[in-house]
């Protein structure tokens, strides 16, 4: 195939919208300039989150990142989790078209 892609990582974070601005600040601090946010609903240990009131609204943040930034990002997110914040964090491999 003529199209060349680059192996990178996708990190996805599901959390309450109340943490959005703080996470974004953290991204800036560790030098991550791009991210995408989805407004989502969901269910889990902390009950139904169906986005009808502010305390009840989930977001999913997706970051496509190079392997280097990936480590920094995961460590920053891990720190959040160790502070007791509820974040669901997972990652996948991806091929990015430059």
């Amino acid at each position: 195939m003529s199209v060349v892609t680059h192996a990178e990582k996708i990190v996805q974070i599901i959390t309450s919208s109340s943490l959005e601005s703080r996470l974004v600040d953290t991204f800036e601090e560790i030098g991550i300039a791009g991210y995408t946010v989805f407004n989502v609903r969901g269910d889990g240990d902390t009950g139904i989150q169906d986005s009808h009131i502010d305390g009840d609204t989930n977001i999913l943040i997706m970051i496509v990142t190079t392997p280097e930034s990936y480590e920094r990002l995961m460590e920053a997110l891990n720190k959040y989790k160790r502070k007791g914040q509820h974040l669901m964090v997972f990652s996948m491999n991806t091929e990015v078209l430059y």
Partner: protein, 333 residues
Amino acid sequence: MSGFDSLLIPAVLFFALGVFARLIKSDLKFPEGMGKGISLYLLMAIGLKGGAELAKADFGIAFQSIFWAFIMGLVIPMIGYALLRFRDRIDPFNAAAITAHYGSVSAATFLTAIAFLETSGIAHESYPIIMMVIMESPAIIIGLVLAMLARKKLAKSKPAGEGQEVESLNTGALLKEAFTNGSVVLLMGAMLVGALASPEAMEKVYPFSNEIFMGVLCLFLLEMGIEAAKRIKSFKNAGATLISFGIIMPLIGGTIGVFVGVTLLGFSPAGAMLVAILGSSASYIAVPPAMRYGVPEANPSFYLTLTLGVTFPFNVVIGIPMFYQMAIWYSGL
């Protein structure tokens, strides 16, 4: 208006409809964002109205109202915390997060109380509107402080390392947030607009902010009914202690409010009832996001179940007419 009649005001009937729809598992639901949009409208409308009236209000009483609102916002969550921690029934983090909600105010309950009065043509003071603004913030602070103390205590009883990280929560930022909360800013701002704009200019805005207000409130309470009933399925998890707290606490807060309204502020029974609602109702707008980040150890499902699923319906159906009767009776003493 008798106690039973009050249930027949359209807003309360629509609330009941929402609860009913959910109980029979109807697929009636509001599009995402609609409830949030309506509540922006309601805050704006009540702010404009309050501001226009407060512009001609007595500065002394306004100041006293603010003072006592602040005190209520501090005292009520402390009582709540003591109740919840009694015999160590509820762990300190959940107790702190839950009680913070009760220091703050539910705008929907407050507006329903106003609808209750206006439908019956009963005049009321507008100072309670400014009190509502004041009460959004102190409760959040109390909740954070209580949780911080609990965290300190826990850290002592544990080996170092784990605890310290928790400590580093940025409390300054959280306090700032308590005061720049969206509903505080909108309500306060709309009051300022209502006070600053000329009466002729305000008249052009009234068809939107006043005339359609009651109807919009009905639509909003329909959604709130659905939201409240959604929490019922979490009653079992919350347990009897918490559920009964959701009824006892508004009784205490409302009684304090009647006392503050009648005795300390000299309001009419209608005005005192509004103060009672400030005391009895529990926030589910500003406080939950603040507690989610500030007290992550607490379970959000608990506080939403209590405030939305228990206290909100209790106040709308029982609290409003009851505190009004109480205020009449107490005023007459």
